[in-house]
Assembly symmetry: C2
Homo-oligomer: 325 residues x 2
């Protein structure tokens, strides 16, 4: 039985609890929180203060870091990696090399194993981009996200004066996706790949035309996209937009043959009702892998690229070959 500790108790942590319930070899041994433990109700695991985490070293095989990428994980993962095998979902692509170096140093100091930046992007999408580049070196990469909720864009809309609540969906442009699938290798701008849909609850008497204008012209978030804004009531938002669906498509389009005469498309697609729950399923399997790698003496920081796929599975090599190959 692999004993998982959850460091933080948000959506990902709750998803890991659900994933552990579906995997006979995984159990949640403890939850660590910055809140008052008495106020936190888990699916059964005991709750402790984050400050007490080191006192529970012997009860935990792997610590899943469930904080945010902006400020939590850059601090917390290196701190914990010296004392625990850890898994995190760090998703600020640009800062991954720096985060990797910090976690690697800490993990090696403690003889522990860490896997960072797992989930689906970074994670499974990265794996598919990488495999596509290996198998089809003469080719082009495409990533489409959605249809799904972007938390960052939803937050940006909520910060506008007069907005009470908002939900933003990122939507791939179907005609662009089809052109890529047909092997046309188009060059696509941001606007040609995705549109953005906003569902906005405005305060009574707020100037809706101004809110809409502020959204569609917002630098870095919306100005490079075709954005539609729908004003709805809080009741409608709560009823129709409470889920956190997401997904997307990674395509590698490439050529082979003596004169590049043959075209090929590799496509990986996710359609997820719950972004955090699926992410947590990937995290849970990586927790299993990290324990195996540590038991073999493979210490330091790893990514999805370093994990032999069999280590993610509860099945033996023999079972995998007989049933899955």
């Amino acid at each position: 039985m692999i004993r998982i500790g959850l460091y933080g108790y948000g959506n990902i942590a709750r998803g890991v609890e659900c994933a552990a319930a579906q995997n006979a070899d995984l159990t949640i041994a403890a939850v660590f929180t910055r809140r008052d433990p008495a106020t936190v109700t888990t699916q059964g695991a005991p709750v402790y203060r984050v400050d007490d985490v080191l006192a529970h070293r012997d009860e935990i095989d792997v610590l899943v870091m469930c904080g945010g990428s902006a400020t939590d994980l850059p601090q917390q993962t290196p701190q914990m990696a010296e004392y625990f095998n850890v898994v995190d979902t760090f998703d600020t692509h640009k800062r991954i090399p720096e985060h990797f170096a910090n976690v690697d140093t800490a993990a090696k100091r403690g003889g522990k194993t860490a896997v960072i930046s797992v989930g689906w992007d970074p994670g499974l999408f990265s794996l598919n981009r990488m495999l596509g580049n290996c198998f089809l070196p003469d080719g082009a990469d495409y990533t489409f996200w959605g249809r799904g909720v972007s938390q960052g864009h939803s937050d940006a809309v909520r910060r506008i004066d007069g907005v009470l609540d908002a939900r933003q969906y990122t939507v791939p442009v179907e005609s662009a996706l089809q052109a890529v699938r047909r092997g046309e290798q188009p060059e696509l701008t941001a606007r040609q790949k995705h549109t953005r849909e906003c569902y906005v609850v405005a305060a009574e008497g707020a100037d809706r035309a101004r809110i809409e204008r502020e959204i569609v012209t917002m630098k870095n978030y919306f100005d490079e996209y075709d954005t539609t804004v729908h004003f709805i009531t809080q009741e409608e938002l709560d009823r129709d937009h409470k889920g956190i669906p997401h997904g997307g498509t990674v395509i590698r389009s490439g050529r082979t043959g003596r004169d590049g005469e043959n075209r090929h498309e590799m496509e990986f697609r996710l359609r997820l009702d719950s972004n955090p729950e699926f992410t947590a399923c990937v995290v849970a399997c990586c927790a299993r892998a990290v324990c195996r790698m540590n038991a073999e003496g493979q210490t330091g920081c790893k990514t999805i690229f370093d994990i032999p796929p069999a280590y993610l599975s509860p099945l033996s090599g023999e079972e995998l070959r007989a049933k899955m190959l």
Copy 2:
């Protein structure tokens, strides 16, 4: 530079030559053939008799076994695995455990590393089936093949009396594929998943009605499918059906959440103009991986499940993290 030997010189071997031309770290060092070497023209590599292969041990880092799965590979891969790092495309799913054991014994005896059953199915499809089962343990698997040429079914049609030549396409049933993509988890019979299309060149005066009847009722090959038969001329077959396209789709459809309330679909799809050339691209990257694993002392028989994905790539871990994660 990784020096590849090709054992056999058919479609896969020619594809590996093309793949090596696209990868700066791979070179074809030698081709071994059962034919008279003087009659074989390669893209530049020297040609030797298969019987002389052991004399070239020092010139080769990894031997790619390019024979057929029916009779060649079960013999040849274990024979060569004692003396060379090897890669093969053994694709008789049921016999993989037995083949694995034979190759493992030989490779361990010689301190060599082998990777068997690579390509796309078995290979990338296996990897995606396995990952789907890891991440979504409460779910169902679907594999659709095509639209593509099935060599085995084409051969079966050619054996019918009065048939001069034939090409068989396996075609997924689009409505079934869409139902799976929508997360309906349907139970599907063979007939509901695929149809079969045959293009047949009949001898002059042959009884076409009898040929068609023999095809559509053929046990194990066609009787469980809806099959259409088109009679065409040899010229039409050569003009319109000379390619070897293939592909397919692996879907894992599963549920998460405290009450299984959230549905997810993971899909991996290939559309290939040339089945052997894409297979060869995967083989070439596995040749790279097998050399790395051997250099690390990981000897014996491996499958795609055992290869850390980074080992397939010519890029360093640092480059992969910066560019692909």
